[in-house]
Subunit: 256 residues, 2 copies
């Protein structure tokens, strides 16, 4: 059975794309097959796995606006076992035209039914920093929402804004959606980061992953190289932390 | 004459809100009157100057959706000479309903005409991390666009996406719009940051401010305190850098 994960947060710059890329890289390292879906018009996930958005003929926008089949849009990456549905600037159009259609929030969910349950172990969806129709489509198509957050004030404040969106998705189509919070870009020497981390842990309890991701400048280098950190430099601290996150997740999924 | 500045970038987490707050604080330190406008549904700018978005009765959404007058929405902050048009979660509605109206991109521009030219020296507008109708409204109402960017790969990549939006705004209503790029969260010890900074300088030349903003954890503390860094701890490196940015800007504006 394929398990689908959305990476979303209205707050910008909290490592949504970095988490989608690194987690998929970690699943590949554990010999699990993963399909990445880039739902952000910025197309950073597409770039993070070494593909030029300007060079692709069809993207996720063609899929959502109904003009192409799933199989004609899925691409292989340089990583065995890791495929991608890329994004490009056409997604700006999808952002504008999706909301005017009836039941626009369920378009992706209905499309992903066409994927055979044994094709992939995981589907990982990256979203733009917004709670509009694109992110709602991803949430309705998912088993789990991962909310990356920096241990900083504006990010912690944004966690509260995510809860009403989760309640709405559960009430209108996906009652089984679970969420988990992931602390990212954590600096252990910073007093604010340590305080915020403890406040988030106190507020959300089991809703927070045990694994947290520390600041690691090697992650910046891996995005330049177009490779997940697990394949760019597997021994760095962040590669090992994303590997432990993948194991923590896989363990949770088996438990379900 | 009032000079209007939009702080925008599709890329998330690049210090848009921190720049809007700190720049307005710096203008106040230089005895210039500033009106801040929070156009982001996250309402981080409202929070950054110590106001609880859940506690306000009317926000910028009421202004844009035409139900209230400007004067009934403008609030004073604890900083003399610094006023605010706050945001709250009603802005999610504005994001959805604005684009269906005719000439939706010019609503803010037409509303700001009601502000007397001697009321403020500067208007500073914070935007969500997107290039939709909200950001377009801000761009059409502005003299200048400041694009904060981290010296990192995804941020630098996003700069390219901003240029077509600037061209469109100039072609359809605001030919005099100028833009300037501001490097933020810069870590002088980081090789990637130094390389990226030089690449941005080589690509954009005079389009880049001379002033750049270094990483400074005191900025995180000031957002917790609900004060601009210039009023939270005026002697920190970032307070002095934002002060020099305000002077560089004021000098440019006089030159126009
Ligand atoms: N653990 C980390 N250590 C250091 N840098 C990091 C880490 N995680 C992410 N980054 C860097 O921080 C920046 C923001 O991360 P990223 O772009 O993945 O966030 P995002 O939430 O996807 O942003 P957006 O809201 O624009 O989609 C990137 O330049 C990335 O390389
Ligand atoms: N120079 C700096 N040094 C250290 N931290 C900073 C600096 N500038 C901003 N920050 C912190 O980085 C985070 C991102 O900044 P901010 O929220 O202002 O970005 P933004 O572009 O407004 O994000 P969004 O895209 O969500 O609107 C915040 O937690 C802020 O406190
Ligand atoms: Mg991203
Ligand atoms: Mg902001």
């Amino acid at each position: 059975m394929t398990y689908t994960i959305t990476i979303a947060n209205q707050k910008g710059g909290v490592a949504k794309t970095t988490t989608a890329t690194s987690l998929a890289g970690a699943f590949a390292t554990l010999n699990m097959k993963t399909l990445l879906i880039d739902m952000d018009p910025q197309a950073d996930l597409t770039v993070a796995v070494g593909i030029n958005p300007k060079g692709i003929s069809h993207s996720v926008a063609d899929l959502l606006l109904n003009s192409h089949s799933l199989s004609s849009i899925i691409m292989e990456t340089t990583i065995p076992g890791l495929d991608l549905i890329p994004s490009n600037s056409d997604m700006e159009l999808a952002e504008r035209f999706l909301p005017v259609r009836d039941n626009h929030e369920y378009i992706l969910k209905d499309l992903l039914i066409a994927i055979h349950p044994t094709s992939y172990d995981f589907i990982v969806i990256d979203c733009p920093p917004a709670l509009g129709s694109i992110t709602l489509n991803a949430l309705h198509a998912s088993n789990m929402l991962i909310i990356p957050t920096q241990p900083e004030y504006f990010s912690a404040f944004a966690l509260r804004n995510m809860m009403p969106a989760i309640k709405r998705v559960r009430a209108f189509g996906n009652p089984a959606l679970v969420y988990r919070i992931l602390i990212t870009m954590h600096d252990r020497r910073n007093r604010i980061h340590n305080n915020m981390r403890e406040q988030i842990r106190a507020t959300f309890g089991d809703g927070l992953f045990n694994t947290l991701i520390d600041v690691d400048t090697k992650l910046r280098e891996s995005s330049l190289a177009g490779l997940p950190i697990t394949h760019f430099n597997p021994r760095t601290r962040s590669a090992l932390q994303y590997l432990s996150l993948a194991k923590e997740l896989d363990h949770n999924v088996q438990m379900v």
